[in-house]
């Protein structure tokens, strides 16, 4: 099978970290080298092809334990990693944080060391604080740490599955415009996706949404992206629209806009889709969705939607991540 055609523009390597592959951990999109991502997508594609062909799952991770440390609620990511681990022959171990020693004041570091001491080879961590993956990586002696979402900071595996799905549907991202719509300020999905798209050479990334949910101009500039305040204009340019959930739980206070007003002002409604979007636009949403707020049901379930593809591809991407990290050392 052909490798995905990624944008071929050569760009200078910005950070020293990018020149070295994440040999053991996957903590951030920003540090992923392009070649590593391309190889990962090849691997995911092989898994997907094998599934379609009805081949039995590999036993690449047989005898390995994959610890799922979810300090925040999650359906998709947790189940996706669980299934990915199982398909590779590993044993997933879920720690129910609500019933864990974390409730007695145990620190993240202590939990990581405890799980590793029990023999976990992988620790998948979802946490409400930014850089919690880095904290875990500092104390893990051998285990692979995978960031499954740290606060509003990063969600690299989501970015990988999103980008993989875009490439699968579109073939190439070169020259296309990717729009992130909604709560950018509190979105780890947007941050990770934007970093990954930059690594893959995508130049036209724009954001739109309520001004109060936008990072400062300075921050957007540092990301190399621009804010398009008129939603309809933003939609008209976009080949791919990532609709983001309004992360009310992270705001610390209520928005000066009700859900009904949000939909009217910033929601991807069917009317807007028909009236302003390109005919072949692709619609993404990382879930969970506030249906009828940031996205209409008709759009989420409609022919442009890639939402279920995202979910399905998530398993293959996470299988590929586990396998490649395992192979790395």
């Amino acid at each position: 099978m052909m490798a995905p055609r990624l944008a071929s523009e050569k760009r200078p390597v910005k950070k020293a970290a990018k020149s070295t592959a994440p040999s053991r951990h996957l903590l951030t999109s920003a540090e992923l080298p392009k070649v590593w991502v391309e190889a990962l997508f090849d691997e995911a594609r092989r898994f997907k092809t094998a599934e379609k062909a009805g081949h039995p799952w590999s036993e690449d991770l047989k005898g390995q334990h994959v610890g799922l440390l979810f300090f925040e609620p999650s359906t998709r990511t947790r189940a996706s990693f669980h299934i990915a681990a199982k398909r590779l022959g590993a044993d997933p171990v879920t720690v129910e944080i609500a019933f864990s020693s974390v409730q007695k004041g145990e620190s993240l570091e202590d939990t990581v060391m405890t799980m590793e001491a029990m023999g976990c080879h992988f620790l998948i961590i979802r946490h409400g604080e930014a850089l919690s993956g880095q904290r875990a990586a500092r104390v893990a002696k051998k285990a692979h740490i995978i960031n499954a979402g740290d606060g509003s900071h990063e969600h690299p595996t989501q970015a990988l599955l999103d980008t993989f799905t875009v490439l699968e549907r579109r073939g190439s991202l070169a020259g296309g415009t990717v729009l992130f719509l909604g709560d950018i300020l509190f979105s780890r999905v947007a941050r990770s996706n934007i970093e990954l798209l930059k690594t893959l050479g995508v130049k036209n990334v724009i954001v739109s949404g309520p001004p109060s949910l936008m990072p400062s101009e300075e921050e957007l500039e540092s990301w190399g992206i621009s804010y398009v305040p008129e939603l309809n204009k933003a939609l008209a340019q976009a080949d791919v629209v990532h609709v983001l959930r309004v992360q009310l739980e992270r705001h610390g206070q209520k928005m000066p806009m009700t859900p009904g007003s949000y939909r009217e002002a910033w929601g991807l409604t069917e009317e807007r889709l028909v009236k302003f979007c390109k005919k072949d636009v692709l619609i993404f949403h990382p879930g969970p969705m506030n249906v009828g707020v940031e996205i209409d049901r008709e759009v989420a379930d409609g022919p442009h939607s890639c939402v279920l593809d995202q979910v399905a591809n998530g398993v293959f991407i996470r299988m590929a991540i586990l396998k490649r990290l395992h192979q790395a050392c």
Binding site: P210, S212, M214, E217, Q253, M257
Partner: protein
């Protein structure tokens, strides 16, 4: 279209701040609009047959004033003022468009109240345009934001918790951001609540000699400083209401110089540039207003800020209260004074006649300045524009013995002021005419 009757204003001196000119001219009005502005008719004035002629020799003819800071008490405190009495006060003061604050009871923080106030306002549209400023937070309590989008869609011109500042700085920032996407703005009342502590008048010489708790000048500066910092990191436009201190205008001046000129505006009120804390000695609660009347130094600083353009507009902060409420004594009486009817005369008496600013600048601060703050086209004296005018004698005195307002809590009650309003025109109709002039 049927042609309405013609009205010709003859012999006045046109003050047109939008064009930055003053000239003698006759104005022909038809169907509510300016039909002609003609300097050629002057010597001698030519009148057209079938035309009603209004001779205004010696008077100034300016665009009707915009007052962007008015408290009408409907709903909730109709014993102080209603939309109807407020409209009467406005036209008597030459005001053609006023923006009413949301500190009614209940506050204008939801669709239902908004529509109620809007309907009451529309009932006065033959006299004056009334626009609504909606609350930033529910009940103006500072905790929970209102649905700014919905209120803006209904027509809210701007947002403010006036009477109190937007207490939560994060809500202020979110409101600034959101209103930026709706071509609107936030108006803030600058006062650090924790420094007030029951203060009734300015903390200074008078408060100390009367033994009345004072409101420190810092309470305003602290709040202005906070607001400017918040504005810097937002995308919105902020208007600071009724500034009263030297420190506050200095902060605004610096902020404007440092890149915020397009997003930061401020207003001052006639009583703050005309009176000092000393007025409290003579007039007691009639001179109790929030922010309080300050010192001579502050008055001077306001004058300087008006001269150098730091101040964008003059607004009345018309705040009616009944006699019995104001008669409760300095501590118990509510803050506020009426101002719609005296805004122009006080400006002329205390700024124009002493030579601090020209009459053209004064009218600019009362018309195009407020329009710019609200991001509206400036009222112009040109054919095709609405015939909304204030016609007044800049050099004639009037003693204010009564008011059209339902309340009379004015420190200018019984005082003579220059700048007598002869007439006010709204869409070509004479909605006020002073028969004694």
């Amino acid at each position: 279209m049927a042609q309405g009757p013609l009205l010709q204003i003859v012999g006045g001196k046109v003050i047109d701040p939008a064009a930055q000119t003053e000239y003698e001219a006759d104005i022909l009005i038809q169907n509510g609009k300016i039909a002609r502005v003609d300097k050629r008719w002057l010597k001698p004035s030519v009148t057209l047959p079938g035309t009603e002629v209004f001779h205004v020799h010696g008077a100034a003819v300016a665009p009707a004033l915009w007052d962007i800071h008015v408290h009408l008490r409907e709903p909730g405190q109709e014993h102080k003022e209603t939309m109807a009495t407020g409209a009467q006060a406005a036209v008597r003061g030459g005001v053609g468009r006023m923006f009413v604050m949301p500190n009614t009871e209940p506050a204008i923080d939801n669709e239902e109240t908004y529509k109620l106030v809007e309907a009451q306002g529309k009932a006065q549209e033959k006299l004056v345009d009334i626009e609504i400023i909606a609350a930033v937070t529910k009940g103006r309590e500072g905790a929970e934001p209102t649905d700014l989008y919905r209120l803006r869609k209904l027509g809210a011109a701007a947002f403010s918790d006036d009477g109190a500042p937007v207490k939560d700085a994060q809500i202020l920032r979110a409101a600034l951001d959101e209103t930026s996407a709706m071509d609107s703005l936030v108006i803030d009342h600058c006062e650090e609540g924790s420094m007030i502590r029951g203060g009734a008048i300015h903390e200074g010489r008078v408060s100390r000699s009367l033994g009345v708790p004072g409101i420190p000048r810092e309470s305003e500066a602290v709040s202005v400083f906070r607001d400017i910092q918040v504005l810097k990191n937002s995308r919105g436009r902020l208007h600071l209401a009724h500034l009263s201190t030297k420190e506050a205008v200095e902060l605004v001046r610096k902020a404007k110089k440092n890149g915020l000129a397009k997003r930061l505006t401020c207003e001052v009120c006639p009583h703050h540039f005309a009176l000092t804390e000393e007025a409290v000695r003579d007039m007691g609660p009639l001179a109790k207003v929030n922010p309080p009347l300050r010192t001579e130094d502050d008055v001077k600083a306001l004058h300087e800020a008006i001269i150098d353009g730091t101040v964008d507009a003059i607004a009345s902060d018309h705040a009616p209260h009944s006699d019995w409420e104001k008669n409760q004594g300095l501590l118990a009486a509510p803050f506020g004074m009426i101002g719609l009817e005296t805004m122009l005369p006080v400006t002329i008496t205390y700024l124009v006649r002493p030579g601090i600013i020209s009459l053209l600048t004064a009218i600019e601060l009362l018309t195009t300045g407020p329009a710019r703050i609200m991001n509206r086209p400036a009222p112009k004296i040109e054919p095709g524009e609405p015939a909304d005018f204030v016609i007044f004698y800049p050099d004639r005195e009037t003693t204010f013995r009564s008011f059209a307002s339902k309340s009379r809590n004015s420190p200018f009650l019984g005082r003579s002021l220059y700048g007598s309003v002869l007439a006010t025109l709204h869409r070509g109709q004479m909605v006020y005419r002073n028969e004694s002039l």
